[in-house]
Symmetry: C2
Subunit: 132 residues, 2 copies
């Protein structure tokens, strides 16, 4: 990505402050102090950030999260472990998963552009303190 605009930086900073998922409207609220007034300001910034790989969209939560790696810009896929108890999100190694998807897709003659991989369950920390 060339260079971030002011709005893009603000949105990215907000997401990187905790690396946890936030909805567009939550981000809007967090950024009102910085002059944000309308959803579109957030959505436009997010669009570019997602395009560049600095931010990922979590389809199952309708939320956005800052990339936890440096180089997601280079891979077209990200995979997430989403803890239903503490709501934490961890990006995980998807090489194996991606290979498996590639094989299945190939069998079907399907060309993959992007994979949405979101695993819902219970993280190690929550499993420890709770049988849920």
């Amino acid at each position: 990505m060339s260079e971030l605009t002011r709005n893009q930086s603000l949105v990215l900073d907000a997401l990187q402050s905790d690396f946890q998922p936030a909805s567009a409207y939550t981000l809007l609220d967090r950024l009102r102090d910085h002059g944000f007034k309308a959803p579109l300001q957030v959505y436009r910034a997010l669009e570019k950030l997602v395009e560049s790989g600095l931010v990922h969209r979590l389809e199952s939560l309708n939320a956005f999260v800052a990339c936890q790696h440096d180089g997601c810009g280079r891979h077209r896929a990200a995979a997430f472990l989403i803890c239903e108890h503490c709501k934490s999100v961890t990006e995980f190694d998807h090489a194996r998963v991606q290979r498996a998807i590639g094989a299945s897709a190939k069998d079907a003659g399907f060309t993959v552009r992007r994979s949405v991989i979101e695993v819902e369950g219970c993280c190690a920390a929550c499993e420890g303190r709770d049988t849920g």
Copy 2:
């Protein structure tokens, strides 16, 4: 699932008429002739159908699709190839993918409850008639 109620049957029939994804509001429109008037009638039926595995929710499309297998009730995961050109959706064999996810999750000490696997790209048919 015990037995389908009237509303559940109507929604399931609508989805099984083409096995293609439909939003809740599309279903509502299709079912107005049958007396449906409010979104909740659709959402309530969908909730039960998804729970039983007869219908899957496509997170990346905010849409619902009838299960293409018989026994999805028994597996807690479904994986989809979504063609961005013709909008067709194919449920694919996820055993390999599920194993790969299981391995990655295990490394992180994460307990999987449900996996969202939605692969976006171009199906064989569209690839044939178009370079997109």
